[in-house]
């Protein structure tokens, strides 16, 4: 467990949005599992904090939820992306790409070029 990192505050929301965008409507457990798998099991999602995060996104109108049936016919609550959520995801993705690009350029700069 020591090599897994806890998900940073704020980035969890972005991961949730991206996950739903990729996989379509999904329940909480599925979202958590998917985030862990995508990170190559390097990230550990605290399942307990996932639900308040989902609630916050729903309150802000980025996702919507409805009860449905899971693959093995179990009743579960499914979250889907709203149009505002898609826009927000796009905005945040761009922000992250920009930030990481800057950071990586900064970190990979050869000694003396700064």
């Amino acid at each position: 467990m020591s090599e897994t990192t806890n998900v940073r505050q704020g980035t969890l929301a972005l991961m949730v949005l991206k996950t739903i965008e990729t996989l379509g409507p999904l329940h909480g457990y599925g979202i958590a599992r998917r985030i862990e798998q995508t990170s190559g099991e390097l990230l550990s999602v605290n399942y307990g904090t996932l639900y308040p995060a989902l609630l916050k996104l729903e309150q802000e109108g980025y996702i919507a939820s409805a009860w449905g049936l899971s693959d093995n016919n179990r009743k579960a609550r499914f979250y889907r992306l709203t149009r505002a959520g898609a826009k927000q995801l796009e905005r945040e993705e761009r922000g992250w790409e920009q930030a990481t690009a800057i950071m990586s350029r900064f970190l990979s700069a050869a000694k003396g070029t700064l």
Partner: protein, 801 residues
């Protein structure tokens, strides 16, 4: 935007909490099951899989708690719970609640009512565009009297030449005779320049206001009616516009009607039935010589700047000096009321303070009864802050109810208050409970709620966990400190009441002194009547004199009448005429302005003003006989200090009277108890030189003939000791309060020194009386519980313990 949406959703989700909780529980259950299945698929036992799933989740209850905090508005829910609890507590002790609410309601209501008046008079800006650029302009002669009016000549000069004013307007009240109806009627009228109404932004309800061509000498006579007058005289008929009204014998065409809301803001509560144009010529000539003037400053011009410029434009006086006075209009209107209102506000503030202290004491008393409840709460894990918050919620809720009661009292009481102090209030926009007053009330509620609730709450939230739960703990240190706090409160309260009573006592004492003042005449059994003649019917002084002479004669012969007289002024009537340009024989430098009254010969006898030297007017001082005058003592002192003035001669410049001999000196009458009498000159209306100065108004004065348990209670010997003990404890507190209050009063009553008359702000007799009163009240307050304590059956007290 998103945040706002989130908050709305959170507020919304305060509803249907049970359903939402169930839904989330279901969601978590399905989550755990899926997790378990995955675990079992990986080879775990069912129990192990469930354990792992729960660990990963972090436990069901904490997650639910986290989720609930995110879903709703936690602090609001706590507040709601506290309020619910507070309401239950109040229901359980209705007598206590009612006492507190009424006490606070009285305090808050009184303060709010006074504040609503303060707000209307001092705080709320005048309801006109850019109110702070409106200034009141006046000219005073010398330093005597307050400057209220400006001469029309100066008005014209300002209007034509001022660079600092963008606009100027004026008005003056007068009385006029309305004829043509079933019976002649005296109505209050205002003369206004055509510029006044646009300046105040008033739109007529009907018709129009004055045109510039109507507002000049010789312009067509027109009038605008007040709404009240229109309603009472013409039944709100729209056909009134264009009709004609006869005022002082001249037909005036009605051109408009004002809305009911229009009232000219004025220190003297001008409340006119109708308006006519002032008609000032470019040279300043007008029918009336003075007016109240309002100007609008140009942008960037200061009050002082305008004063400096306007002073250069006034026409130089024949003698003495003219002082131009420029004041912000609102300040001028409120000037008479500011001080008394603020004193009033302070006084009710003190009353509110006393109410708060009282309530704090009650709460402290009840805190003793709730000791166990608090201990239980602490034992169940409530922190000190939590208990403090709950108790403060309770006290704020009590204050809130008090505030509601207070608001009701204020809205009922403000009308009473306005009627009661109306004479000292300028007429401005009506006093009402607007948003500012409401905000003040709410602020007051919060402040008082915390003020009286904090000390008891702090007290209650403190203390050892176990003490009150064990009966052995009763009577421990906690109680002693509560007792100390209550003692302090009593001392404080007595001190505040002492200050209040001292102030009231001083005012009352000076009122008694005022009543004891010798007014200089005999006001008992005098009836007065103001008679005004229509100028067109009695155009010359001779005709007016003849009329009044006839009336006086007729009235004198009525049964029960001792004497009757006519005069242009009456003592304390507040109206007087003055003349300037008086020459005193042998004293050319003594040219001054004096008051002048025209009287019938028996005026002094009728009103009861004694002649101190020389003789009074007689019926033989008439046209053709040498012109004589009488003066008052102030006149004699001012012009003939140390000399005999009877027999001296004076000359009046306008109208030219020739030399007039002073034949008698009468007592000087104070215009108001706190003012010194002014030099005054009297002429008889039987002599044309005097009658010339008469207007169409005279006062008729008629003097009618005839008319006009001791506290020593038998206390049983064996109870005496207990009684003495309780009493001495109580009286010590009261003594301390009185001592502090005396010191505070000595400092604070200086503030009302200028409102007092004839006594100093530290009048020992008043203070002594207040101390006596307070001590007696305190004694009575101690005696009741003391007797109760003394008559308690000892075995019952033990059993309860």
């Amino acid at each position: 935007m998103r945040r706002l949406r989130a908050w709305c959703v959170r507020l919304w989700s305060l509803l249907g909490k049970g359903r939402r909780d169930r839904e989330f529980a279901e969601e978590l259950a399905s989550h755990l099951e899926m997790h378990c299945e995955d675990g079992m698929r990986a080879g775990m036992t069912a129990a192990e899989a469930r354990r792992q799933a729960l660990i990963k989740l972090g436990g069901v209850l904490p997650v639910e708690e986290l989720y609930r905090d995110r879903r709703g508005v936690p602090w609001l829910e706590t507040l709601g719970r506290d309020f619910g609890y507070a309401i239950r507590m109040m229901r359980r002790a209705p007598a206590f609640t009612a006492t507190v609410v009424v006490t606070l309601g009285l305090g808050i209501g009184a303060t709010t009512a006074i504040f609503s008046v303060v707000n209307a008079v001092l705080i709320r800006p005048l309801p006109y565009p850019e109110p702070h650029r409106l200034v009141h302009l006046a000219v005073s002669y010398g330093d005597r009297g307050s400057a209220i009016f400006a001469p029309t000549v100066d008005y014209a000069a300002w209007k034509n030449r001022s660079q600092t004013l963008s606009r100027i307007a004026g008005h003056l009240g007068f009385e006029t005779n309305l004829t043509g109806g079933t019976e002649a009627e005296r109505v209050k009228a205002g003369a206004a320049t055509a510029s006044l109404f646009p300046m105040l932004g008033v739109q007529p309800a009907l018709g129009r206001t004055f045109l510039p061509e109507e507002d000049r000498p010789g312009g067509p006579p027109v009038a605008i009616l007040s709404h009240a007058f229109w309603k009472s005289h013409f039944g709100e008929s729209a056909a009134i516009v264009g009709k004609s009204l006869t005022l002082d014998g001249t037909p005036h065409t009605v051109v408009g009607v004002f809305p009911a809301t229009f009232q000219i803001p004025d220190r003297y509560q001008a409340d006119y039935d109708l308006w006519v144009p002032f008609a000032i010529g470019d040279n300043g000539r007008a029918k009336r010589p003075i007016l109240q003037t309002i100007g609008r400053l140009k942008p960037g011009v200061s009050v002082e700047g305008a004063r400096a410029e306007l002073a250069t434009l006034v026409r130089p006086p024949r003698s003495g000096k003219k002082i131009t006075v420029v004041t912000e209009w609102q300040e001028q209107i409120a000037s008479g009321a500011r001080r008394s209102l603020l004193i009033f506000l302070c006084a009710v503030g003190f009353v509110l303070l006393v109410a708060c202290v009282n309530v704090a004491n009650l709460l402290l008393f009840r805190a003793a009864a709730r000791e166990k409840e608090m201990a239980v709460r602490r034992a169940l894990g409530a922190g000190r802050a939590r208990i403090l918050r709950q108790l403060l919620t309770e006290s704020v809720l009590l204050a809130l109810l008090g505030g509601v009661v207070g608001l009701g009292l204020a809205s009922a009481g403000k009308n009473l208050l306005v009627t009661f102090i109306a004479r000292n209030l300028p007429a401005m926009e009506p006093v009402h409970l607007d948003l500012r007053v409401l905000a003040f009330n709410v602020g007051l509620v919060l402040v008082t709620g915390i003020a009286f609730g904090l000390a008891p709450a702090l007290q209650a939230s403190r203390g050892e966990l176990n003490d009150p739960l064990k009966d052995a703990g009763r009577g421990a240190t906690d109680r002693r400190s509560r007792h100390r706090l209550r003692s302090l409160l009593v001392v404080f309260e007595v001190a505040v009441v002492m200050v209040l009573l001292s102030g009231a006592g001083l005012l009352f004492h000076s009122f008694l002194r005022l009543r004891g003042v010798d007014p200089g005449f005999q006001p008992d059994r005098i009836l007065t009547l103001n008679v005004a003649l229509t100028p067109s019917k009695y155009p010359t002084p001779r005709e007016k004199t003849a009329f009044f002479q006839q009336v006086v004669e007729k009235v004198s012969t009525l049964p029960g009448v001792q004497a009757a007289s006519a005069s242009t002024s009456l003592p304390l009537a507040g109206y007087s005429m003055s003349i300037s340009g008086l020459t005193v024989e042998g004293k050319p430098e003594a040219e001054r302005q004096v008051l002048v009254s025209i009287v019938s010969p028996n005026y002094f006898r009728t009103v009861g003003i004694p002649t101190v030297r020389g003789r009074s007017f007689s019926d033989s001082d008439r046209g053709g006989s040498p012109v004589v005058a009488m003066v008052n003592e102030s006149f004699a002192r001012a012009f003939f200090p140390g000399e005999e003035c009877v027999g001296k001669r004076i000359e009046q410049w306008k109208p030219k009277t020739g030399w007039v001999t002073i034949v008698g000196v009468v007592r000087a009458i104070r215009p108001a108890p706190e003012e010194q009498p002014s030099p005054e000159l009297y002429f008889s209306y039987l002599q044309p030189e005097g009658a010339f100065l008469m207007g169409s108004n005279m006062y008729l004065a008629v003097r009618a003939a005839g008319n006009p348990k001791s506290l020593a209670a038998a206390v049983r010997a064996d109870r005496g000791r207990i009684l003495r003990m309780v009493l001495s404890n109580g009286m010590k507190l009261i003594g301390a309060g009185v001592a502090i209050g005396l010191l505070a009063s000595a400092g604070l009553t200086r503030l009302i020194a200028s409102e007092l008359w004839g006594i100093s702000a530290t009048d020992p007799w008043t203070f002594a009386a207040v101390v006596m009163l307070l001590s007696a009240t305190g004694l009575a307050a101690c005696l009741l519980p003391a007797r109760g304590a003394a008559s308690v059956d000892p075995t019952r007290a033990l059993r309860e313990e």
